[in-house]
């Protein structure tokens, strides 16, 4: 497959026009004060399915041949994105969600009309998905290593750059690199001077090594609360990241939690831990961010709130 380009991001933006939400920018005097920067949060937690993943999934599904069902493997936001995209486009969707499956996410996918398959674990899931793909004669949509997915994810940064003038830096969390590679294409298509930084948990530090060594360093036994960031980069995302990124910020688990709490308590935004990974460098005053205009892609808001609401139940009479 050839690498996607800035023009592909622009095309994806046309495809998503009026379909994806044009998500708002949120700012905070307190966040600016703490970080010594001007910070603009691009709130993809308010995107359809609660995450930027809808953008890439929808764009990719529009390129699937008309009579083909779609098959995807994901236990998280990509599954929801593909299911909703297929519902909107009148296509059959098969989502392979390896156990343990979050019941809320499973219900959401089913609510969008997707058929859910739940193999016992991730190893079985890959075999199962290949088998399923053959039996339904479907088309496969990979969560990040797909040019249309990458181009779709880039539309968040494209919107951000139209909403906020004069950004010096854009950053976001990195897992497989779909969001970040799309962001690189969008940012440098608009202005090659913008610095793009990837933010990665210390407990899942494969993307940084992959870029340094220019090969896919596999993610082994990742340990982070930022679920979505536990994957390795891909053959399409790696070369884009290598050519465009200004660098990485590596954050510890306690920093993720502190950033998440800051955003909840001060800004009243419900975000998932992966999004907090991209806020944490600001709160520790990274020198490369100070006195800059910094855009941050808040990737999503899909978190399990059961524990929180159980706490409230105790107070109800």
């Amino acid at each position: 497959m050839t690498l996607p380009t800035f023009q592909d991001v622009q095309r994806a933006a046309s495809v998503l026009q009026g379909i994806a939400h044009h998500t708002p920018i949120h700012t905070s005097h307190q966040l600016n004060g703490w970080s010594h920067a001007s910070v603009f949060l691009k709130c993809e937690n308010f995107e359809r399915v609660g995450a930027f993943k809808f953008r890439g999934a929808y764009n990719a599904v529009t390129h699937v041949k008309s009579d083909k069902p779609v098959v995807a493997l994901s236990s998280g936001n990509h599954a929801q994105g593909v299911a909703l995209a297929c519902q909107l486009l009148g296509k059959e969707a098969h989502l392979v969600m390896p156990e343990p499956v979050n019941p809320v996410k499973r219900a959401a996918v089913q609510g969008y009309g997707g058929a859910v398959h739940t193999p016992a674990n991730i190893q079985e899931a890959e075999l199962f998905a290949q088998e399923l793909l053959r039996s339904v004669q479907g088309e496969w949509i990979e969560a990040f290593n797909n040019p249309f997915v990458i181009a779709g994810q880039g539309t968040a940064a494209l919107e951000l750059l139209a909403q906020v003038e004069g950004l010096d830096v854009i950053m976001g969390p990195i897992g497989g690199g779909g969001l970040l590679s799309g962001t690189c294409l969008a940012a440098h298509g608009i202005n090659p001077e913008i610095q793009v930084f990837a933010c990665e948990p210390a407990g899942a530090l494969d993307a940084k090594y992959s870029v340094q060594e220019n090969r896919i360093v596999p993610q082994e036994n990742p340990q982070t609360i930022a679920e979505g960031l536990r994957t390795s980069v891909g053959t399409l995302t790696l070369p884009i990241l290598r050519d465009h990124l200004s660098g990485f910020f590596v954050v510890e688990e306690h920093e993720i939690l502190e950033a998440m709490r800051f955003i909840y308590e001060r800004m009243k935004l419900l975000i998932e831990p992966a999004s907090a990974v991209a806020v944490a460098p600001l709160l520790r005053n990274e020198p490369e961010l100070q006195y800059k205009r910094v855009g941050v892609i808040i990737s999503g808001g899909n978190v399990d709130l059961s524990h929180y609401f159980e706490g409230f139940l105790g107070q109800v009479i």
Copy 2:
């Protein structure tokens, strides 16, 4: 004191121009689907200090004589609103916050430069506040029974009506009635046909009885998770409510929690229980709301998240 008017709300809007945040409207396909209505949430959780209370507090503080310190009694959002307003206007602020004081709210008030006084309980707090008022020769700003406070709170609805055309209904939670009486003035100043409904927890049902009986029925032993709604209405708010309200929706505690969870999980908005009180009638399909264009004032987002983040701590390595 004379009752505030629509013109007072308009004047307050000029005073708050460029000072209060012009908060966004959020909508949801799912909320519309469930409620069979078109629902527009006016997100005052994104207001300064995380609640609409900043509007009334700021407007009232601008009317305090220049050399006078301000004294207010509140353990919640009004204390933060007054403290920030005084900081912005260069005035001395004394906040009487009866024990038990939430340490996060206390720190927030102190962060805005307010002097915090913590009497042992609410009875002592009232005496203490009167004493303090005399000793510092200050001016008293009541949390809702003050014409400038009421006019300030009305600016949220004024903005909402400029943001969304053709609303049939506006509703919000009721405690002392400051928000709702200001909302009545704003709504009927723009269009006397708009129906304004007050939403009240069954466990703190004094405002409904007060309006029915046209006298202040005191709040006794309120039992609700919606902290801010445990107060009685006042001599200024009651006559406005009586003359303008179309009615009350009374909601149970489990409905408050369900509405809160819906807004968190589906809309990724962090709101306080009081705000969920005004969403709950939509989720139970109140006949008076179906097939209408309904504006809801989301009052604020100040909730205690300690329990939630403690749950996460267990996952951090």
